[in-house]
Amino acid sequence: MVDEPRDREPNPRREKPEIPAPEPPERPEMPKPGPPGPEMPPREKPTPEVPDPKPPNGPEMPPPSPPEQPTRPTQPEVMPRPEPAGVPPMPPGPEVPPPRGPEILPPERTVGFFVERPESVLEVPAAKLAAQSRRDFLLLGLGIVASGVGAWWLLPDRTKGRLVGVERRDRLDTVASRIGLSRENREKTLDRALTLDDDVAEALYSRNRRVRTYRRSDVTPLKNNYHGRTPGPEHVAGWSLGLSGLASGVTEKLTLEQMMSRFPHHEQVTRLVCVEGWSAIAWWGGVRFADFLAAFPPAAGARWAALRSNLSLDGAGRNEPYYVSIDLETARHPQTLLATHMSGALLPLAHGAPLRLLTPVKLGLKNIKAITDIAYTADEPADYWNERGYSKYDGL
């Protein structure tokens, strides 16, 4: 075996042989249980003073190193301070006490950074050891302090108030904001986590990937999760859908009958997943958003659909419009419906009569109910829950 430590990659299969690292004529000693064979290559020495180390021929081991096994330097690259001086600790075996190696300081410490060092005794100057200890404990202390400060900074205000009391919280927050750990920065930082996750979600998305579908017998109860009151039946009769941002430049008005007669009807049994963590399988029917887009093409440059319900109510029953942003890639997914039916009948009020979005590639909160307006836009439109701290993309 040629000794070329500098040219070799770290040996990924290296186990800690239980022998002192730096000695040249080494010999792996205790065969490890486990997969036999190539796991204990001979250690070789990077220093030129030593004659070419031969592959060891240990008395108790089958030749441990197949030729394809790359070699690498064996120095304690990680913690260079401890100078090896040692007696091998292993009791059994006719080990020859290895000669004291010459001073070895590997020139390329990073080459074998990952390598697990053998559990052999090293003799290290006490002062060096103490200095290294100090450094490591200092790092640990810094880590603890950083975690504590970071956690405080990122905790929700209400949680902090409950932990230490509102007054002390405000005082601590004042101190924290002086070193840049302000509320605004907290929101920015946490928002970055959301946008990173949104980017990942968008990268995972494929319009050609169909979502799992179920049998009608798999349908589970779906609760009415309107965040406010459920709109009453009075609006359904006079309902029409406003459509703008079209290539034609005109604003269209479509009735439910037009929606249902003009486009082919599609049915699907898919899972609706809520941001809260629950989910339900339901049987939906309606128009493919893709067909709708083909019939009413958006203006050039449009990348988004702003879907809006002017019928939504808040908890007190007052009108509170609900709006979501949907990227047109999602709108063109074959399982994205402008749904008119549920369980084979027209949509009930609780689930968005007369028309709702049903897209199983987005969280439930994007599946807006009782749509009244669709507008195509070039820039991303506002999104109700995004304004309240949730993700904007919400891809599933």
Binding site: P118, K128, L190, D197, R388, L396
Partner: protein
């Protein structure tokens, strides 16, 4: 040796810097992941008991928290005790999700660093269960079971002679924690992206299957900490320190630890 005249100490290298780094980084990450994860769980529990009309809940955690509050004589709302004390809090879904994603990405990064280090450095072999582990694990359990009685009886109770870096119990514990760590990430993705990663969701049978696995993994990872810390501390300062500095001064019996 440069310092031939100076005092020197005999040590045994123990933990690779990457192992130490990722080990300690896991502590705040898991803490934050559990705190935010339970706050997310608050929004839609998956484990239900029969409806309790007094507490107006079916959530086991609400009931558990109410029980603890009662034991502690805590006068605050018993229905909120659990989520107030063991999570970021009730009604904190949006912020908890953001916490959870931020920490989850860091946890994956940390785990990747750990696994890559183990794979490249060969450290994984010390964690791989071996054929002899069953017998050795029984011996270790016998040893641990006898530590306190033998101390009371003042009888010698030597530690089993372990020649490898970890004993069989440690190996199985550390190995399974790696598995649970990987599983918690996989089940997390399965419920986070069940549409794009439908194959992963199917791996856990269903959406709620992934939720249950995710939850069980949390229990295992969190529950592991208790015996882990107790054993490390009882084993001695040298063992605790070795996870900070990377070496042990237990030269003769350098083979066991927490």
């Amino acid at each position: 040796m440069p310092s031939s005249g100076a005092r020197s100490t005999r040590i045994v290298p123990k933990h690779h810097p990457l192992v130490r780094l990722t080990h300690w980084v896991n502590v705040p990450l898991l803490f934050g992941l559990i705190a935010s994860g339970l706050a997310i769980y608050w929004a839609a529990p998956v484990f239900f008991h029969a409806y309790d009309p007094v507490l107006r809940t079916r959530d086991y955690f609400v009931s558990l928290g109410a029980g603890i509050a009662h034991l502690l004589g805590d006068r605050s709302d018993p229905r909120l005790w659990f989520y107030n004390h063991l999570s970021l809090g009730p009604q904190q879904l949006a912020v908890s999700l953001r916490w959870h994603w931020a920490l989850a990405y860091l946890f994956m990064l940390n785990g990747a660093l750990y696994f890559v280090g183990l794979a490249l450095g060969g450290g994984w072999r010390a964690l791989l269960p071996r054929r002899s582990d069953f017998a050795e694990a029984l011996g270790m359990m016998r040893y641990y079971g006898g530590v306190i009685p033998m101390a009371i009886l003042r009888r010698p109770w030597p530690h089993p002679d372990i020649r490898s870096k970890y004993n069989a119990l440690q190996r199985s514990a550390y190995f399974s924690m790696s598995l649970f760590g990987a599983l918690v990430v996989l089940s997390g993705w399965a419920m986070h992206k069940p549409s794009q990663l439908g194959w992963l969701e199917r791996l856990f049978v269903s959406y709620d299957g992934a939720r249950v696995v995710h939850f069980v993994c949390m229990i295992m990872l969190g529950g592991f900490v208790i015996p882990h810390v107790i054993l490390a501390i009882t084993d001695g300062w040298d063992t605790v320190r070795s996870m900070v500095v990377g070496w042990s001064t237990r030269v003769k019996e350098s083979s066991h630890g927490g």
